[in-house]
């Protein structure tokens, strides 16, 4: 059959478009609720839908193991029994979490669960425990009472664990591994306030990640992120008021009460979401001076701190990638 030139002219562009779309990758997103937050994963890949379904399924599997509030979860059963055998996921996360508790001098502590419950943050039925109750709670908080040997875990007397400060970071790392094993080189994993980027956007530009302003719905600034993660902890994320006093959800393990920090928010930028998750909580509890000392000692992550008196502090590694309209102080490694 001989095709006429007009027919070729009309059909060729369509065939060309079809061919390009058939062999090209597509960007797809999925949003779902898990771990008490809204999650969105965006993937650019040939089989993006399949990859996203696996991501959602993996997060749901982790929630069944790591949730403190989900009845029948592995962690809930461990808390109830005081000891038990756990899955590889839970054992691995517990080991890493305990190491981070030690590294942060207990400012991040996974045994803070009794205090979280007492303040009503699990049920939204808020209350203010009195000093004697706080003293009793403090005696139950100490990560050093938790012992793990392979898959066997034993808690200290009266102890209960809460992995909420680190489970999303762990899930983010798991999704990153899952996607990279499938050859995905462009994805954005947003698990609540935890953001992890695989590569850059499909057009080669960095992902633009806004850092929420605690005082408004706007941003403190925008960071250009490629192959890395950002996690923020702030006193504005969850709180309640009693008798004119606002109580936020980031508890100081040493007092069993909301941390009296000079910070409103801490954003950690690094290459591991699990570490960023724990650090953001711990550094909020530490306050700005100790947080910056910790940063100087560790040296392999960056910080965006917003203080209660409205100062924006950036560690020096972010001075290039972070854009803001606010006056910002750049903190150097040298004191």
């Amino acid at each position: 059959m001989k095709l006429s030139k007009p027919l070729i002219s009309l059909l060729a562009p369509g065939i060309l478009c079809l061919a390009l779309s058939a062999c090209g990758e597509s960007s797809e997103s999925v949003s779902f609720f898990a771990m008490d937050t809204c999650m969105t994963v965006t993937v650019t890949a040939r089989d993006a839908d399949e990859a996203l379904a696996l991501c959602e399924s993996r997060v749901n599997e982790l929630e069944q193991r790591l949730s403190v509030t989900l009845e029948g979860s592995e962690l809930a059963r461990l808390n109830s029994a005081g000891s038990g055998t756990v899955s590889d996921d839970t054992a691995r996360l517990l080991s890493e979490a305990l190491a981070l508790c030690a590294e942060t001098g207990g400012c991040f502590d996974i045994s803070v669960s009794p205090a979280v419950a007492a303040w009503g943050f699990y049920t939204d039925e808020y209350r203010v425990p009195d000093e004697s109750e706080l003293a009793a709670l403090r005696s139950r908080i100490d990560y050093r009472g938790v012992h793990i040997d392979g898959s066997s875990v034993t808690l200290g007397t009266g102890q209960r664990l809460d992995l909420g400060g680190i489970a999303k970071g762990y899930a983010s790392e798991e999704l990153r591994s899952l996607l990279q094993e499938r050859g995905v080189d462009s994805a954005l994993i947003v698990l609540g306030g935890s953001v992890e980027a695989i590569g850059s956007k499909p057009n080669g530009e960095s992902w633009r990640i806004g850092v929420q302003d605690p005082n408004s719905g706007g941003y403190l600034g925008v960071y250009r992120l490629s192959d890395g993660c950002m996690v923020t902890s702030g006193d504005y994320q969850r709180s309640f008021e009693r008798d004119g006093i606002r109580y936020h959800h980031i508890l100081d393990p040493r007092t069993a009460a909301p941390a009296k920090s000079d910070l409103r928010s801490v954003t950690v930028v690094c290459d591991n979401a699990l570490r960023a998750d724990a650090y953001s909580t711990a550094l909020f509890v530490m306050g700005s001076r100790r947080a910056l000392d910790f940063w100087r000692q560790q040296g392999d992550f960056e910080l965006i701190l917003y203080t209660a008196d409205g100062r924006l502090l950036l560690t020096e590694g972010l001075s290039e990638g972070f854009s803001t309209e606010l006056p910002a102080e750049v903190i150097s490694h040298e004191q």
């Binding site: 030139k5 007009p6 070729i8 002219s9 009309l10 060729a12 562009p13 369509g14 478009c17 949003s31 779902f32 609720f33 008490d36 937050t37 809204c38 969105t40 965006t42 939204d124 039925e125 954005l188 947003v190 306030g193 935890s194 953001v195 956007k201 992902w207 633009r208 990640i209 806004g210 850092v211 929420q212 302003d213 605690p214 719905g217 706007g218 941003y219 925008v222 950002m230 996690v231 923020t232 702030g234 994320q237 969850r238 928010s265 954003t267």
Partner: protein, 120 residues
């Protein structure tokens, strides 16, 4: 027709395809409202001329969504946390409005020129 004219016709068809793609609605001002994973509706905020409210009922109460020209927020909700109400108006590229107890999400279908995600 000469080869030049065939080439011109070919180029015109390509241009037509590109124009159709560019002129298709971008979705940049369109938000979606989901409840328990189900898309309840989409609203083009640029096309809203008069404020109105939407009711999202659930067991034990309802959430009232306030839709105004160019903006959307949850005006009230029958839940203890009230996080979705305190979120205020949805910002392009900002964090979605989320009601955790009732699994309600309001977010832009697509953001342009803003941010890709928000940490906070």
């Amino acid at each position: 027709m000469s080869n030049k004219r065939w080439a011109l016709l070919f180029a015109l068809v390509i241009l037509l395809c590109a124009a159709v793609t560019l002129l298709l609605p971008s979705g940049g001002s369109t938000v979606g409202i989901w409840q328990r994973g189900e898309l309840l509706c989409t609203i083009d905020l640029a096309a809203v001329t008069e404020p109105y409210t939407l009711r999202i009922p659930y067991e034990g109460g309802e959430s009232i969504v306030c839709v105004e020209p160019g903006s959307i927020c949850i005006q009230s909700a029958d839940c203890k946390s009230q996080t979705c109400v305190r979120h205020g108006r949805l910002r392009p590229g900002g964090t979605p409005i989320v009601c955790l107890p009732e699994r309600i999400v309001i977010r832009y279908l697509r953001t342009e020129g803003g941010v890709d995600a928000v940490t906070g």
